[in-house]
Amino acid sequence: MNQSVLLQAIVYLASGVLFVPIAKRLGLGSVLGYLLAGIAIGPAGLELVGQEGHDIMHFAEFGVIIMLFLVGLELEPERLWKLRSSVLGLGGLQVLLTAVLLTGGAILAGVAWQPALAMGMILAMSSTAIVLQTLNEKGLMQSAAGQNTFAVLLFQDISVIPILAIMPLLATYPAASGHDPHAAISLLDQLPESLRPFATLATVVGVVVLGRYVMRPIFRTVARTGLREIFIATALLMVVSVSVLMEMVGLSPALGAFVAGVVLANSEYKHELESDIDPFKGLLLGLFFISVGAAIDFELIIRQPGLIIGIVAAVMAAKALVLALLGKTFRLSTDQNLIFSLGLCQVGEFAFVLLSYTSQNGILPAEMVGLLTAVVAISMALTPLVFLLNEKVLLPRIGTKEKPHLEEDTIDEKNPVIIAGFGRYGTIVGRFLRANNIGTTVLDFDSDRVETLRKMGFKVYYGDASRYDLLKAAGAAEARIIIIALDSPKKVLDLTETIKKHFPHLTILTKAYDRNDTYEYMDAGLTHIYRETVDSSLRMGTDVLTLLGFRAYHSQRAARLFLRQDEKALADLGSVRHDRNRYYSRVRLRIKELEDLLQSDVNDRWLKDIEEGWDAESLRREASRAGS
């Protein structure tokens, strides 16, 4: 491998490792940490990275793509449909009004209308990467502000397509020499202009169909191999392929990934995909933020500090104003509106893409592109600070301190019960709970079984429940109870350990195969343990007694007594089971005790209950003594 690649990796990783924990510690959030790391290693700092920073940024934009894939994965089609009014209404108005306002401002400042319009559209975009990451980190994604923010960002992603279509019409300058090395090879070049929209549409439909009917069997086959890295590779391959395909037909790759995510949101591999891909998203986004930090041209800023700061302030103020007005129109509370409008007031990473496009197509002069690039980078870098300002200064004063109220349709699954293992045992518990309207999230590691159960209409997810990330994705933080119905005792113990460490609030109910497993689980500190066969065997025993002529009520109480005593004995035997001799002698003793207990007419307290409570021999004796 090229040594310089590894050296670069060291530089980027080290800066991240150094700055992010410090920034987090200071309460600044990880995004600002990455940005600071970028500034530190960039041309303005230690000069450890130079021109290749732009390449890295382009590569790291893949993090944004993965993020949108994950967002799509969380958003089932029905839920997306419910968001349609905020996406089209709120998002559409935001892009339109902001573009108009900024274009007008630019014209007033003496810019010709064509470049002014281009600037207006470019600066209307916000940063999906920074905003979603920050909202996630602050746990605000489910709030009204978070949902509306997401709707606006989604519309912006979609609007990149028409914007790219309009741009060439605005060209007034000679095109910059050379071609963008990153410009995708378009598949549609050969097609006549009139057919291109249909080809684009056909591609999107193709992605949906593939996701529905081809990807799931592929994932199932891959899952059956049991090799996790191949599963991850498949997932990444799919995301990369879809985004490249989308780019080739002139769509935003992030949008393509989002569509792929939505298509797979209903699949059984949802949580597994989520937890497998999430680390890549985190790392690549970090890399992206670092490269944004490194791309800030401080020399340019020092040359024209007043102008740049002025533009940044004007743009951010204008965007925040439009957003705040829209937030008010769409009935956001003051608190939520502050988060919403200040959160989205920066210019986003799409602006970089659009700016390089404008310079190549002669829409904006080169010096203006440089200026705007600095403006965009600074506004992005300011976002975490704006969030911080809002949180620490504005909200405590202006805000009504109301808790962000949860929207009815939350993206995450929030079921009170998680069932790990949906075999013969788990299925029954699951069906019972479902019949009682208890929401359950089901995880199972057998891909064939998951497939079958899905066909039967169960909502089952594929994955190894003992992994922290999967548990988290399944909503373990919000659930109240976890049912462990796994067959492998090792997995049960692993899972127990994970739960006790990360989700100690969960009540654990465990199925056990036999006594030995039960002992192990007791040692692990589990208290709700259910031996697979004991209830069924005793039910059969009860029926045998009844068929032999015992009264049903007696048989039933005898079975309960037996179970109670047996559980007591189990706890006692568990403590001596490592000493073989003592164990067996204790077992013999216990069995004898139990038999005596059930047979005794005189000594046993419980059987006395039957007689004395209802037809007491002693009462009869007393009565005859009194009478004689």
Partner: protein, 196 residues
Amino acid sequence: MPSVLVLFAHPALEKSRTNRLLLDVCLSMDSVTVNDLYEQYPDFDIDVDREQQLLLDHDYIILQHPFYWYSAPALVKQWIDLVLEHGWAYGHEGKALMGKKLFNAITAGGPQSVYQETGNNRFTVRQFLAPFDQTAHLCKMIYLPPFVVHGTNRLTLEGAQQYANQYRLLLSLITSGQLDVEDARNRQYLNELILD
């Protein structure tokens, strides 16, 4: 011909000689249906639809049980709570049981002499049975005096068999349609109809 439903409740029949004999009487008669509650619902999970249908199918309802703690075993109370639904058995719309006859057939450890104002138990059996009486009244049924086996604590086998015979005669009287309801209502115990 009037039909009879015996709702039998005993949590430990294996220990009760007298109730066994009385139950056998019921089981031997064709026009008497026996519903053995503790055998049917050992887990107290009563099938209300089944019970209501049984009630609809019969004219006389007998609650046969030991007189535990001056009342009935727990399952009888559970049965009353679940089966006699509002709007079905009682209330403005509740007319399903109108005109049916209900009485208790009970076995009590003590002799009749202790069930007096001056006796150890301070109240008569009829007084203790007031909740059943009123339950029947609320359900627009005709409540009849109880059939009582007294002194089971000291009862000999012959004594118990005598009571079983009385019970058989009483049930025959009912199923043959010869029971004079007005006469019966004025008695202390239904036993008197046989002894007359």
